[in-house]
Subunit: 295 residues, 2 copies
């Protein structure tokens, strides 16, 4: 075997209550979101065609594990969470990332890349880790890199994942909304997660907890969207282009909200098309992230 | 909406340690298995074309919820776990079950039917339950009916599910083996779960715990098969046709074991074909059970 490939769905967070922690496996968020059939595919290869496994030597792993090179949609790039995953696994590798969804726009591309890298590297280098172990490594890498607090566990579960308790497997606790609606989305560009999460967190936490309580009283796709919409307003996170699009969808009787955290609007069904937007459409991804079966 | 459909993968248990309990949400088993792309599809319809929801009236639900009629692969049939799911949900419905895998042969068809019924009924009758709730209802129905102790939670997770702790969501704890091998299987007929589980459980429990410890030291598909094979011998559960087929696969350098509990042999890759058997082939189902998206 000279390469392994894994897929992780894009993940739009509808609402969240952040719980940072110095321990990255305990850091996380409560909240809920949508795992999309549009996502991220990662192929891992040994850097020079040979499988270099430094996992047997912890000192070497700590200093030597990491990215040899990363390619994102055809161009060299850096992705700190992916580098951290390989370092933690004690592996040196080339990583090729292709994304169906825009980067930096609230689809959790960094988390998806970290998670798919963990799954593919485990297969290629025969590391013998369990699924929970690999999710833990990817979640901790995201949290430590400061790029996300809840995408990885949602991307592993798939569907419409709900984070009842924050943190990686063994700390957090998941549920899900058992619905599989069609989804549309339009992105207007990037938004800095760090800038938003670097501000005052109390109002966000309070709005996130309110939204979660609301959703779990009757968890279906309409409550998910409505709770997300209320959260975006309450937490003061709506950006103007997104607010305008949400209102346009609502004027046509549809439901839409803002992807947390991105300059992106998503809607149920054909909400954005009905409002005259040129939207991408996809399904809810029933699977969590998964290794691609070798044909 | 006049019907809803859900799919649940077939689930072959590789090994298990049973933990019966008077409380059916706590009853369960430790162990591991394989969720198959071959599985069970369930369509739920109102009995007379109308949605009859007695859930708002607990007394009526307790006495009135249940199957109006069940059709299994084109013939009227009875499935106690499915009836119990509808009773618990307070719903009267027609249920149509179609199965890719043989019934009573160790593929967890009753658990799959119960789980898919719960998902489809929740959608059709807009019950507003969460995924964990629905898995809990299906798991408890299986346990109370005495037809299984671990299939439902494995079928919800998908992949190569591992039951670290027994019981429904909120009680049990899951992990998974992150591999997606091709699988072959041959069934020689039915085997009574009740007869086996009605016997002495201590040797089964001990062999199951040993197998789980073995697997989690290096969880990959080969250890899963090897642990299952050792369990089948240690627990004294191998039946003659299956033992013969396992040996034939091993003689060709392959890996095979017995589906717990069924007169069924399963093998990795092309193990059974290589040994001259006319086997069915399928993939590991990456998804847990899921509602079919409405097109």
């Amino acid at each position: 075997m000279d390469e392994a490939t894994a897929f992780a769905p894009g993940h739009v967070t509808a609402f969240f209550a952040p719980y940072p922690d110095d321990d990255p496996v305990r850091a996380g968020s409560r909240g809920a979101g949508l795992a999309l059939s549009d996502g991220v595919e990662v192929t891992v290869r040994p850097p020079d065609g040979d499988v270099t496994d430094v996992a047997g030597d912890p000192a070497a792993a700590a200093t030597e594990g990491g990215l040899a090179a990363l390619d994102l949609d055809g161009s060299p790039a850096e992705m700190d969470p992916v580098n951290r995953v390989l370092a933690e696994l004690g592996i040196v590798a080339d990583v090729e990332v292709t994304s169906d969804v825009p980067v930096g726009a609230g689809f959790g591309v960094s988390g998806a890349a970290a998670l798919a890298t963990a799954l593919a590297a485990n297969e290629l280098f025969a590391l013998g880790r369990s699924e929970n172990d690999l999710v833990r490594v990817a979640h901790a890498a995201e949290a430590a890199a400061g790029t996300g607090l809840g995408d990885v566990v949602g991307q592993f579960r798939g569907g419409l994942p709900v984070r009842l308790e924050p943190g990686a497997p063994g700390h957090g606790r998941m549920d899900g909304v058992p619905a599989r609606p069609r989804v549309e989305y339009v992105s207007f560009g990037e938004l800095s997660t760090e800038r938003v999460l670097g501000g005052e967190l109390d109002p966000v936490q309070e709005a996130g907890e309110t939204a979660l309580r609301r959703l779990m009283r009757a968890p279906d796709e309409h409550e998910l969207l409505a709770a997300g919409r209320e959260f975006a307003s309450e937490a003061g996170l709506l950006v103007p282009e997104v607010a305008e699009a949400v209102e346009a969808v609502e004027a046509e009787g549809g439901q839409a909200s803002m992807a947390m955290l991105g300059r992106t609007v998503y809607a149920l069904g054909s909400g954005l098309s009905d409002a005259g937007y040129d939207a991408d459409a996809c399904a809810i991804h029933p699977t969590g992230a998964t290794l691609r079966a070798v044909e």
